[in-house]
């Protein structure tokens, strides 16, 4: 089984988000980039398939050289080989198009993407890839087992879960639950050393097209001061929620 995990580099979840003075882009000053958490759940499951079922695991990232440290980390976690598609990932359409071209060439059995990246929250790349490549697709995937050509998955739905069956090739949108948070792998020294010599191939894409354009960014308006209510005066809270906030 040949697996591709698509990985994007996103600001660490603890980051405070600021935009550049012209409001045109993210101010990356002081921001540490990490593997998108949804992708990391997927990567961990892929490495499980490698260890348990002998899968070969590749990773791909669309981005400029600045994304290579997180790609090396993914290799240290256990992926065998990496592709960097050398372009700025302007929108989900461009990213999906770039990845789909590589996927068609390599004939993967399973493509794992995060259900969304936690930066631009597009939640479209896995669905676009599945459509471009003609693969089946399961989103918000919280469980996946593979037996030969047959895949059994669970997906989170509003207010519950579904069990699904399909056959390979398959794209999934991974999220928490696919593996437990406690099962996420921290690279050990041996992994880090071997990652240095694992292949990281750079691909120059051609004719990619974004379908959307972010014209400007802004931060949420700053919040007014909290109204504190004495714990002995809970009636006041109910009164405020009823009459002032009008939510009761």
């Amino acid at each position: 089984m040949k697996i591709l995990v698509c990985i994007s580099a996103v600001p660490d979840t603890t980051s405070k988000i600021n935009f550049t003075a012209d409001h045109k882009s993210l101010d990356t000053g002081g921001i540490q980039f990490v593997i998108n958490p949804n992708d990391e759940f997927g990567l961990t499951r892929a490495v499980w398939f490698k260890e348990q079922q002998g899968a070969e695991v590749h990773i791909a990232t669309v981005g400029e050289t600045s994304v290579e440290p997180i790609m090396r980390k993914a290799l240290a976690i256990g992926a065998d080989k990496a592709f960097r598609i050398d372009t700025h990932p302007t929108d989900g359409f461009l990213v999906a198009q770039a990845l789909s071209e590589s996927i068609k060439k390599e004939n993967y059995d399973l493509v794992i993407c995060g259900r969304e990246s936690i930066d631009y929250n597009g939640n479209m790349v896995p669905g676009l890839i599945a459509s471009h490549c003609g693969y089946s697709f399961i989103n918000t995937c919280t469980g996946l087992t593979i037996d030969g050509e047959k895949a059994t998955a669970t997906r989170e739905i509003d207010g519950g879960s579904e069990t699904l069956e399909t056959s390979l090739p398959l794209v999934i949108g991974a999220q928490k639950g696919l593996v437990e948070e406690s099962d996420l792998k921290i690279p050990n020294m041996r992994g880090i050393m071997s990652a240095r010599t694992k292949p990281l191939e750079v691909i120059t894409p051609s004719n990619l097209e974004a379908l959307t354009e972010d014209l400007s960014f802004e931060k949420p308006a700053s919040k007014s001061e909290v109204t504190l209510i004495d714990e002995a005066n809970i009636d006041q809270l109910i009164e405020l929620l009823h009459k002032e906030a009008k939510v009761l």
Binding site: T13, S15, K16, I17, F19, L26, P37, N38, G92, A96, I118, D119, Y120, N121, G122, N123, M124, P126, G127, L128, S131, S136, F137, N139, T142, R155, E156, I157, G159, G160, S161, T163, L164, E165, T166, K176, G177, E209, L211, T212, E213, D214, L215, F217, E218, K219, P220, S224, V226, T227, L228, I229, E231, I234, L237, I238, L241, H242, A245, L248
Partner: protein, 319 residues
């Protein structure tokens, strides 16, 4: 070039989001001086959704179970057939599943997490959407003529009208689906986070899963859904599906009550789109107080039971 809006239903009942979506589509159509068309699958004409000029109705037994491939190709075909410029879909799990697939099939763009009607920026039609899990906003325009708009929950509101749309039943060819649903498990009788007007959420301050009856009792009085912080789901006190935050679920409710949650930046991002936030925490330095509208500094184990009793009285008086 009209606006097509997919009005989602579940077990023959329209989802609450359908009314908000219709309101948005009608307003968008009015801004563009065109008409709004509703798309309905296996359901009667929605009541109290006026202002739509037309309803396209599709009925087929095999559509009773949602499967993404089939639904995506159906919506894509309906988008094509209606000749609409925009297709408005919700932010439900199902709609997020098929958004990208419809975009690929119909050759249109997709702008998700939209929270407002478009504005003109640099001569372009720009939709305001949330990015960085509510830590920021982007104004995004479509480069392709046709575009799918994913509307964020509770961002536009419901505006009723009584005009009656004309209904046209259409038949579209159904495709097979390579993915089959073998089991569907939903919690009965519980308000889901996706549908809730009020969410009651708790963190490690509750000390253990055995104390969650406080959260559940409070949620019951309020008709609210229950949720939790990331540490609580990581510890296995509550299921992952209740985890609210940047790597969990975003919550956009009218009222969010946080009990014993300190307010890590990832959690605050996840609940930022909620309208009114109440925090109950015994630590006055908890960061959540800076993000909340109302706060009580106090012990959850004394405050919450009192709140439950007093809300019962309030509900009885205001029933």
């Amino acid at each position: 070039m009209s606006v097509l809006v997919y009005l989602e239903s579940e077990n023959k009942a329209y989802k609450k989001s359908a009314y908000e979506l219709a309101s948005y589509a009608i307003a968008l159509a009015s801004q563009l001086s065109t008409e709004a068309i509703g798309l309905v699958i296996n359901n009667d004409t929605p009541k109290n959704i006026g202002g739509l000029s037309q309803i396209i109705s599709i009925s087929n037994e095999s559509l009773n179970t949602f499967t993404a491939e089939r639904y995506a190709s159906l919506l894509s075909a309906a988008f094509e057939k209606s000749g609409s410029q925009y297709l408005v879909i919700s932010s439900s799990a199902d709609s997020k599943y098929i958004g990208g697939m419809i975009a690929a099939q119909s050759g249109s763009s997709f702008i998700p997490n939209v929270i407002a009607l478009p504005e003109n920026i640099e001569g372009k039609t720009a939709f305001k959407r949330t990015v960085f899990t509510n830590k920021g906003f982007a104004y995004t325009s479509s480069k392709s003529e046709r575009c799918i708009i994913g509307l964020s929950k509770n961002s536009f509101g419901v505006h009723h009208s009584n005009a009656v749309p004309k209904v046209e039943a259409i038949t579209l060819e159904l495709t097979d689906d390579r993915v089959t649903v073998t089991n569907k498990a939903t919690v009965n009788g519980k308000v889901t986070i996706a549908d809730a007007d009020i969410v009651v959420s708790a963190g490690r301050g509750l000390k253990g899963p055995e104390n969650w009856h406080l959260v559940e009792d409070l949620a019951e009085v309020l008709g609210a859904a229950t949720a939790c912080s990331k540490p609580v789901s990581d510890l296995g006190w509550r299921p992952h599906s209740e985890h609210v935050g940047q790597t969990g679920k975003p919550v956009a409710t009218n009222l969010y009550i946080a009990i014993g949650i300190s307010g890590a930046i990832q959690h605050l991002a996840g609940i930022n789109a909620s309208k009114v936030k109440v925090v109950i925490n015994n630590d006055p330095e908890a960061p959540f107080f800076k993000a909340a509208d109302y706060g009580i500094v106090g012990d959850a184990f004394t405050v919450v039971p009192q709140l439950i009793e007093k809300l019962k009285v309030f509900k009885a008086q205001n029933a």
